[in-house]
C-alpha cells in the first residue's frame, strides 16, 4: 500500500514520473515497444502503428481542445497538409523522411496559425464552424491543385528508406512511427510543465482572467493552434508513409470527429486521456470484429448479420463510458491505480 508521495521541492512536484514504480513501468513499456515487432505478426503491428498515428493526432487536438479550450474540427485537414507535404517531398525531392516529417509538421503549423486567427474573436461552436470551413477549403485545394496534389486521384509515393533499406511492411514502418510517437508524447507531457503549457491551461479555464494575468491571448492561442497542427501534420506524414497513397478523400471531416470523440472518450486535458481515447476508438471496432469472427465457424453468415450490430455496440460503449465516467477513460485508469495504491483499504 502506498499512502502518498512526499515531494520536497518544485522540481519533484513537476516531475513526469514521481515514483520509482512509475519509472519501472515506463522502462518495461519501452522494452515491450522495442520487443513488439519480434513477438507479433503483421496484423498486430499494423494495428499498433495505426493506433500510434491516431495517438499523435489526438494528442495534438488534446493540446488545442483539451488544454487550451479551443474546439477544432479541422484536425483531419491538417493531417492532410502533412501527408501531402511528405508525399510531394518524397516524390519530387527524395529528401530524408525525418526532414520531410519536420517540414510536414511545420507546414501544417503555419496553416494552423492562419486557421486559428478566428479564435481571437470566436470560440466554442462558432470556432468549430470556422475550422470546418477551413477544412473544406483545404479539401478543395487537395482536390483541385492537380499539378501538386494529383487532384482527386491523389498521389502514390515511394516508401521511406533508412540507410538504403526501404521501409515497406508495417513491422518496418513501425521503427519510424514508434519512436516519433514516444517523442511527441514526451514533448506534449513536458509542454505542460512549462510556462507555455500553463498559459494554455489558464486560457482554457478563463481567458479574460488569463489576459489580466499577463498572458497574451493572440500569441498563445495561435501557438496552441500551431503546436496542435504540428502534431496533426506529423501524424499525417506518418500516415502517408504508412499507406503510401494519399487522396483528398483520405482525410474527411468524419476523421476530425473521430479525433474529437477520442479526446472526449479518453479524457480532455490529459495526455493519458488522448492515448487511451485514440486506442479505444481504433481498437474497439477491431476487437468487436474479432468477436464476430469467433462466431463465423458456427454461424457462417455472422459477419453479414452481426456487422451492423457491432456498430451499434460500439456507439453504445461510447455512450456507456460517457455516462458512467464523464471524465473519460483516463479517470477510470486513475481510479484503478488509486484502488491498488490503497488496497486492501477502500478508496
Amino acid at each position: 500500500m502506498r499512502i502518498g508521495t512526499a515531494k520536497e521541492n518544485y522540481t519533484a512536484d513537476e516531475a513526469l514520473f514521481d515514483t520509482n514504480i512509475q519509472r519501472g513501468w515506463m522502462i518495461a513499456l519501452m522494452i515491450a515497444l522495442f520487443a513488439l515487432p519480434f513477438m507479433t505478426g503483421q496484423y498486430a503491428i499494423y494495428l499498433v502503428c495505426l493506433v500510434m498515428i491516431n495517438i499523435v493526432s489526438t494528442t495534438g487536438l488534446n493540446i488545442l481542445t483539451g488544454f487550451t479550450g479551443l474546439v477544432s474540427l479541422g484536425q483531419a485537414a491538417f493531417m492532410g497538409v502533412g501527408a501531402y507535404t511528405v508525399a510531394i517531398m518524397e516524390i519530387n525531392l527524395g529528401t530524408p523522411f525525418l526532414l520531410n516529417l519536420l517540414i510536414a509538421g511545420s507546414g501544417a503549423a503555419l496553416v494552423g496559425i492562419v486557421v486559428g486567427l478566428p479564435s481571437l474573436r470566436v470560440k466554442g461552436l462558432y470556432l468549430a464552424i470556422a475550422t470546418i470551413a477551413a477544412s473544406v477549403i483545404l479539401h478543395f485545394i487537395f482536390a483541385n491543385w492537380t499539378s501538386m496534389t494529383g487532384g482527386v486521384s491523389g498521389l502514390s509515393m515511394p516508401p521511406a528508406s533508412l540507410f538504403g533499406l526501404e521501409l515497406v511492411q508495417p513491422d518496418q514502418v513501425y521503427w519510424i512511427i514508434m519512436p516519433i510517437t514516444v517523442l511527441m508524447l514526451f514533448g506534449a507531457a513536458n509542454l505542460f510543465r512549462t510556462r507555455i503549457g500553463r498559459a494554455f491551461i489558464a486560457i482554457r479555464d478563463r481567458d479574460i482572467s488569463a489576459e489580466v494575468l499577463g498572458i497574451r491571448l493572440l500569441r498563445f492561442k495561435l501557438l496552441s493552434f500551431a503546436i496542435s497542427s504540428f502534431y496533426a501534420g506529423v501524424a499525417g506524414g506518418l500516415w502517408a508513409y504508412f499507406f503510401r497513397v494519399i487522396t483528398p478523400e483520405s482525410f474527411p471531416l468524419l476523421m476530425s470527429i473521430f479525433f474529437l470523440a477520442a479526446i472526449i472518450v479518453g479524457g480532455m486535458g490529459s495526455i493519458l486521456g488522448g492515448i487511451l481515447g485514440a486506442t479505444f476508438m481504433t481498437m474497439v471496432p477491431e476487437i468487436l470484429k474479432m468477436m464476430v469472427g469467433v462466431l463465423s465457424p458456427i454461424w457462417p453468415d455472422a459477419v453479414a448479420v452481426m456487422s451492423p450490430v457491432r456498430v451499434v455496440v460500439f456507439g453504445a460503449l461510447i455512450i456507456f463510458f460517457l455516462i458512467f465516467e464523464p471524465d473519460g477513460l483516463a479517470e477510470i485508469w486513475r481510479n484503478i491505480r488509486r484502488f491498488f495504491h490503497l488496497w486492501p483499504f477502500k478508496t
Binding site: 491523389g154 499507406f243 487522396t247 459477419v303 457491432r310
Partner: protein, 390 residues
C-alpha cells in the same frame, strides 16, 4: 526384438505412411482462399451486403459442384465500413491467418493502396468493387482484375449506343467532384470525339450537394439530347431529372453501374420512367433463355438481388475460372499465374450472368448493355443488345 517393439514399429510406420499420404492428399487439394474487405457497414453498406451475398452464393455453388478442380473455395470476409485503414487492417488480418489466393477489395483507394503489397507478396489476384480506369493497366497493376468494364468503358458503351441511336447527338456529362466521379471524364471526351458526338457540356457537382438548380439551368441552356450521370448512386439524379422535366426538357438521362440497381432506380419515383444506363450483367429477374446460373440464384434466393450481388457473384466466378485454368495448366497457384489464367478466359459462358460469352481484355471485361426503366413494369428492361468494346 520383442513382439511389442515390432508392433510399435509397424504401427509407427503405418501411421507415418497414413499421415504422409493424408498430408500429400491435403496438399494436393489445398483450399483456395478468397479473402474479402467487404463494406457491410458504412456509406457503401447498401452494396457491401449484396456483394457479400453474391460471393457467398457463388462460393457455395462452386463447392457444391466439386470445388475448383477438387479444391474447396473458402471465402473469408471482414467488414471494413468502407474505410481504407479498416480495409488494409482486414487484408493484413486475413493474409496473416490464411494462405490467400484471391482477394476482393472494397474501393479504388484500397486497390491502389494495397496493390504494391499484393505485387510484393506475389501470391494472389485482387479484384473488387472498383471499376476505376486507372486500374486497367496490366503493367502498373499486374495482379488486378476488374469484374466488368471500367468507368471509361461504361461511358464508351453508352456513347456507342447514343451514336447509333442519334448520330452527332449533343451529350452532357454530369459527374461528382470525387475520384470516382472524375474517373471517366477525359476518356469520355475522347470517345465522344471519335464517335462524332458533341460533348461540350460537362458539369461537376460537389460531393453530397443537393441544390442542383444552377446545374439544371446549364443543362437547359445547352439542351443536350442525352445527359450521362457518373459518380453517384442515387442523389442528386432524381432532383436533376425532375427539375429538367419541369422545365420541359426532352433530354434522356443515363447512369453508370452504381446508379443502375433496379430497386435504387425505383426509388426515384415517377421521374425514373425512361431513365437509362449501362449494366455489365443481367438483372436478377432477366428472362434470358439458357441462363442456368440465374435460375440457380433465383432458386437460392426468392427475392430480388441487387446489381452489387451480381458483381460479387461474377467476380467469384471469373476468379475461380482463372484458378481452374492455372491448375489445369499445372502451374503453381500464385498471383502472376492466376492473372495469366484470367487472361486465358476467352468466350466464357457465365450461365446467364452476362448474356453473351465473355473474354478478359487487359484487366477488365469490357462488355455491357444499355437498359431503360419501365415504370409500368417497375423494372430496368434492355434497350440495346450486348455491346462489346474492342
Amino acid at each position: 526384438m520383442s513382439i511389442f517393439k515390432i508392433a510399435k514399429q509397424v504401427t509407427g510406420a503405418l501411421l507415418a505412411a497414413g499421415l504422409l499420404s493424408g498430408a500429400a492428399h491435403a496438399e494436393d487439394k489445398k483450399d483456395i482462399v478468397l479473402g474479402g474487405s467487404i463494406p457491410m457497414t458504412g456509406v457503401f453498406a447498401f452494396a457491401g451486403v449484396g456483394i457479400h451475398a453474391g460471393i457467398t452464393d457463388a462460393t457455395k455453388i462452386i463447392n457444391d459442384n466439386g470445388g475448383i478442380e477438387g479444391h474447396k473455395l473458402v471465402y473469408v470476409p471482414e467488414d471494413t465500413a468502407y474505410k481504407v485503414d479498416a480495409s488494409v487492417a482486414a487484408f493484413n488480418k486475413i493474409t496473416s491467418q490464411h494462405d490467400v489466393n484471391l482477394y476482393y477489395g472494397d474501393s479504388t483507394a484500397f486497390s491502389k493502396t494495397i496493390s504494391p503489397e499484393v505485387d510484393r507478396l506475389g501470391k494472389m489476384v485482387l479484384t473488387g468493387a472498383s471499376f476505376a480506369s486507372e486500374l486497367n493497366d496490366t503493367k502498373k497493376f499486374p495482379n488486378i482484375f476488374i469484374p466488368g468494364p471500367t468507368y471509361t468503358d461504361m461511358i464508351g458503351i453508352l456513347l456507342n449506343h447514343i451514336a447509333k441511336e442519334k448520330p452527332g447527338a449533343k451529350v452532357g456529362l454530369v459527374h461528382s467532384e470525387t475520384e470516382f466521379g472524375r474517373d471517366p471524364v477525359e476518356g469520355a471526351k475522347a470517345t465522344a470525339k471519335e464517335l462524332g458526338l458533341d460533348m461540350s457540356l460537362i458539369i461537376s457537382t460537389a460531393p453530397g450537394g443537393v441544390d442542383v438548380s444552377t446545374e439544371v439551368l446549364k443543362i437547359r441552356r445547352a439542351r443536350p439530347d442525352f445527359v450521362i450521370f457518373h459518380g453517384y448512386v442515387l442523389a442528386p439524379i432524381p432532383e436533376f431529372i425532375s427539375q429538367a422535366r419541369a422545365m420541359g426538357l426532352k433530354t434522356k438521362f443515363m447512369g453508370t453501374f452504381w446508379s443502375m440497381d433496379n430497386s435504387m432506380v425505383g426509388k426515384m419515383g415517377d421521374v425514373a420512367d425512361g431513365f437509362m444506363g449501362v449494366m455489365p450483367y443481367n438483372y436478377y429477374y432477366s428472362e434470358q433463355a439458357n441462363a442456368p446460373m440465374l435460375d440457380k440464384i433465383r432458386s437460392m434466393r426468392d427475392t430480388y438481388q441487387s446489381n452489387a450481388y451480381m458483381q460479387g457473384f461474377f467476380s467469384t466466378m471469373m476468379l475461380s475460372e482463372a484458378v481452374r485454368n492455372t491448375i489445369k495448366a499445372g502451374k503453381e497457384l500464385n498471383g502472376p499465374n492466376i492473372h495469366a489464367g484470367l487472361q486465358q478466359i476467352k468466350d466464357f459462358d457465365t450461365g446467364g450472368i452476362i448474356g453473351v460469352p465473355v473474354s478478359v481484355k487487359g484487366n477488365s471485361v469490357p462488355i455491357g448493355r444499355v437498359y431503360q426503366y419501365d415504370l409500368s413494369k417497375k423494372q430496368m428492361v434492355p434497350a440495346s443488345d450486348w455491346i462489346r468494346l474492342d
